[in-house]
């Protein structure tokens, strides 16, 4: 039990909000510079941001789902399957009773998937990953079966639901309009900020609001309430929690079921996405896994996973809206980022990290210089590539819940 001495607890820390603001500001500046220097104005346009918001939403919900489950100590790789169930449930309820019913339908079916995962992992102690994979397989099977049974007679297509009415979109007026006018003036930085903000404030649906609201809500519930403390204790040291009278099994069940519900909500977000007809087989396209990756990227914290989802949503939005050349432009932005980090680390005398950042910057710039556009096939999978890179660089600084994935049985403490 070597209590490794860590950084001095008395050293004043930079407040979290200052760090968040500076990171966001740095990101905006980098994007703005990149857009200006490469002429890829799509990088900061309202349209790109809007697309990014809609694309990040399912990832965000899945990531939040992962958070709730893993904080309770249960690895949830079945998010993908629960999300698939959610898309079907949303479509089934949605085409009959409208978009709010769709939201509810997605939540309910996702939660059922979560319940199954909880039964397998918590009650029967099945390996969490095994159960997750099995649930994904089962989710695919069940939705296909049910679609054939219930959708095909109406839509004439077993892979597709009848049309589901979506939410009306709305914008925050008059701010959105004035931002649009600033954006069209093409002024450095100012127009970029206006474009990014404008995208966040227009073309909204209730689900976007719910999604962004759930981030602080998850934080408050998990870190500032007694319920959250108990739930997290199950992920950190269930034996200790049990010895203090916490009903570990119950909390794990609750965590995993909420996790499934959130994944299902992510499925509903896909079904209700503007421009979507409704349920479409294979619609999730692995977003459940990406959500999990976003959560890991975010170090098992709500703010972090929002950042991760935003990154994935943004890169996805850029390549969908603006194509390979804009993604190519992002390489330039990545170079700036790497150089910036190198400078910061040199200032902090962290030579090795600085050197790695500098080399990485040089490599990325080399790629940027040698090709004109990122092939479509790669641009589409940029988020996955980014995930892999981020994990390779940062995984050792991550702090997952201590008892995650471990077998737990009641009354076996000590």
């Amino acid at each position: 039990m070597s209590a490794a001495p860590q950084s001095d607890p008395r050293r004043p820390r930079i407040p979290t909000w200052v760090r968040v603001v500076s990171v966001v500001a740095a990101g905006v500046v980098i994007l703005s510079v990149t857009a200006t220097l490469t002429g890829q104005y799509q990088l900061t346009s309202r349209g790109t941001t809007q697309a990014a918001v809609l694309l990040l939403l399912p990832i965000l919900f899945a990531g939040l789902g992962g958070l709730w489950s893993e904080r309770a100590g249960v690895i949830n790789i079945g998010l993908e399957g629960m999300m698939i169930l959610g898309t079907w449930g949303a479509a089934w309820a949605g085409y009959q009773w409208g978009p709010w019913a769709a939201v509810l339908g997605g939540i309910v079916l996702g939660a059922l998937g979560g319940l199954l995962h909880a039964v397998a992992t918590v009650t029967f102690n099945v390996n969490h990953i095994v159960s997750g994979v099995a649930i994904t397989l089962l989710g695919m099977g069940v939705t296909k079966y049910l679609s054939t049974l219930l959708f095909e007679p109406i839509s004439q297509n077993p892979r597709q639901s009848p049309r589901v009415e979506a939410f009306n979109t709305f914008s925050v007026q008059p701010v959105a309009d004035s931002l649009a006018s600033v954006e069209s003036q093409q002024r450095v930085l100012l127009s970029d900020v206006a474009g990014l903000l404008g995208g966040l404030l227009s073309g909204l649906t209730p689900l976007v609001i719910i999604g962004f609201a759930l981030v602080p809500i998850s934080y408050l519930v998990l870190w500032r309430t007694r319920f959250g403390l108990r739930l997290r204790s199950c992920g950190e040291n269930p034996v200790a929690a049990e010895s203090l009278g916490v009903k570990v099994v119950t909390y794990k069940y609750v965590g995993v079921v909420i996790s499934g519900a959130l994944a299902g909500l992510g499925g509903a977000a896909l079904t209700l996405n503007p421009g979507q007809l409704g349920y479409l087989e294979g619609q999730t396209g692995g977003r459940g896994y990406i959500g999990l990756a976003a959560m890991i990227f975010g170090n098992w914290r709500p703010g972090g996973l929002l950042a991760g989802s935003a990154l994935f949503g943004y890169v996805d939005g850029v390549q969908l809206r603006a194509g390979g050349e804009a993604v190519h432009g992002l390489l330039y932005g990545a170079t700036i980022l790497a150089v910036g980090l190198a400078v910061v680390w040199v200032a902090r005398r962290r030579w090795r990290a600085a050197l790695i950042a500098a080399v990485a910057g040089a490599v990325v710039y080399g790629v940027y210089y040698s090709i004109d556009t990122v092939p479509r096939e790669f641009a589409a999978y940029a988020p996955q590539l980014v995930t892999l890179l981020v994990l390779a660089v940062a995984s050792q600084r991550l702090r997952p819940p201590a008892a995650i994935g471990l077998e737990y049985r009641r009354g076996e403490g000590d």
Binding site: I77, L116, A120, F124, N125, V126, N127, I129, V130, S131, V133, A134, I135, T136, L137, L138, G139, M140, G141, V142, K144, Y145, S147, T148, L149, G286, Y289, L292, A293, I296, P375, E377, F378, A380, Y381, Q384, L385, T387, L388, L391, A392, V393, S395, Q396
Partner: protein, 361 residues
Amino acid sequence: MTRARTVLLPPALAIVFAALLCAVALLISGDSPVTALRVMVTQVGEGTTAVDIVNSGAIYYIAALAVAIGFQMKLFNIGIEGQYRLAACVAAIVGGALVLPPVVHTLVIIVVAAVVGAVWAGIAALLKAYRGVSEVISTIMLNFIATGLIAFLIRPDSFGVLQGNNISTAPIEPSGHFPGISFGSSGTLFGMVAVAVLLGLGYWFLLNRTRFGFELKASGESPTAATAGGVDARRMVIIALVLSGAVAGLVGLPELLGRDLAYTLTSPQGYGFTGIAVALLGRNHPLGIALGALLWAFLDKSALALDNVGVPREIVLIMQGSVVLSVVIAYEIVRRYELAAEQRRVAAQLRSAAAAEKVAS
């Protein structure tokens, strides 16, 4: 006796349970489970079904072996999917470009496939060993990236050829084919089925008779104890994942070398996930996996037959999903029960021995 019970009971229970579940689903949707079962059983004797089952089973078998190698040391190679597809694609490109004498040509293709699978898994292996990245996440990401890479590789301006409205790699010359065994109207057995059998034997031998197999199992059971016992954990992670990837690289070959002869955008997908399911069914045992693979293939083929009599074919997917979930639960319950029974037995024997000693002294 008890051993047979431990091994056979869980899967039997799981299959019965899953079948019941499906029967209920069918009843609810207004179909007859009895008809469905009859159709499923009788289809085996019809047409090429039996041979098809063995052919598919061999593919699933190779995929499941690849998964099982990782499972032995509790590594989850979810990336079989990406590894085999990329391997098949590159092997098809290389095989289509080369002109070599028969046998050598085939061997070269097989080796290329294994190497590509190993390299793709090797990325995840290195990330795990040196950066501590969970192989679960990295292999999932690599699956996506492989899809992109394949799409890029078989673009007509890379290595692809436009054939009708499908893109494919250049076809492999006959010298590179792996000849099958023809059963006339009952179909042709892939030659790679033999390779699958050999792989199974090799897997068994490696695991139970060699130092590597022992170290692999020890690392899976207790990484800390293995380290103290002189097993280099990092090296084992790399070897296990690379080996798993190499085997995974062969998954696409039975169809590539025995039927398709080129890799196309529409080449089959999903064998990687099937492999995971089959490895779970067979509990990583070479024979168990073989049975699981055949069961899975049988269910697959049933889908077509069921469709013909108007039963929704997707019922098979539910059956497969629920079999996997219930079998892992069943294994877990039996495992726990057996360990408790073993402890009781040891304690009881020791008590009676102690009592006998006391009487003697």
